[in-house]
Point group: C2
Chain length 138, copies 2
DNA sequence: ATATCTGCAAATGGTTTGCGGAGGA
DNA sequence: TCCTCCGCAAACCATTTGCAGATAT
């Protein structure tokens, strides 16, 4: 008797490929809807359902990150390795923060909690350069 | 001519009072629905809308925190001062992490980004004690 | 050949909101 | 009294899902 664990084999579809390309090409942290608007012209019959299904698959494959900062919708990030973010509390824009991961935080938290801590997410809040300028002009 | 900036004066209602008490009394990070189930017995006609409206008010008053960790629903925290959290990646439970705030992180991120950074949120991921035990038993 | 994927449209479900009456100040 | 708050129910809206046909391997 042979037991096989069946695992879904992903196909390479043009839609999924373009979604990933669009996500990799932007520095922003777009919503599903924005990605849809970008890819739609190439696939006039494209539906939002396809966008959501592919974003989910890409996330499961570790190709992208889903970011959820408390708004009513998700944002997606074409960089899949862990990194920090900044959200402007005025305009709501999301930026990458390219500082090194502080893995000491995991150790400290492990000591504090006794849990097995593997990872962390860090988000900064404040005013971005643009909003800072507007404020200074007053 | 006198210009008055009208500001809504909150009334003290029994419903809102109980919602805050329930939230302060629990160590967990309950959902709106759980809070509803706790307060409902005292107010048989209570509606979920009232829960949501009051949670929003309490948040605006700085009495509580709304936590949004990427699930489809929010959790609420009766401790309103900033503190760190841990989420078990197996059971999904949310725990407080009582380690001191690392305000150096804000300084580092300010240096990296040039933004005016005031605050940060830090969330740890891993296995909680309970789920760790289950794994060790295998 | 066949299991995955797509477009379409309807469903889902947590949260919000309009309304008329209740109740706190 | 007056304005905020409540209960109720409908609306909202990002996301998910069922289905039938298309497509990648």
């Amino acid at each position: 008797m042979v037991i096989t664990i069946s695992e879904k084999v992903l196909r390479r579809t043009r839609q999924r490929q373009r979604i990933l390309e669009v996500l990799r090409a932007t520095k922003g942290h777009p919503t599903a809807d924005w990605i849809y608007s970008q890819v739609k012209p190439e696939f006039p019959r494209l539906s939002l359902g396809t966008i959501y299904r592919n974003l989910k698959l890409l996330k499961e494959q570790g190709e992208i990150l889903e970011l959820d900062f408390g708004s009513t919708f998700s944002r997606f990030d074409g960089r899949s390795e862990n990194h920090y973010h900044f959200i402007c509390r005025k305009c709501g824009e999301v930026f990458d923060v390219d500082m090194p991961l502080d893995n000491n935080l995991n150790k400290k938290a492990t000591k504090t909690t006794g849990f097995d801590i593997e990872d962390h997410r860090l988000v900064f809040y404040g005013l971005c350069k643009g909003c800072l300028k507007i404020r200074e002009r007053r």
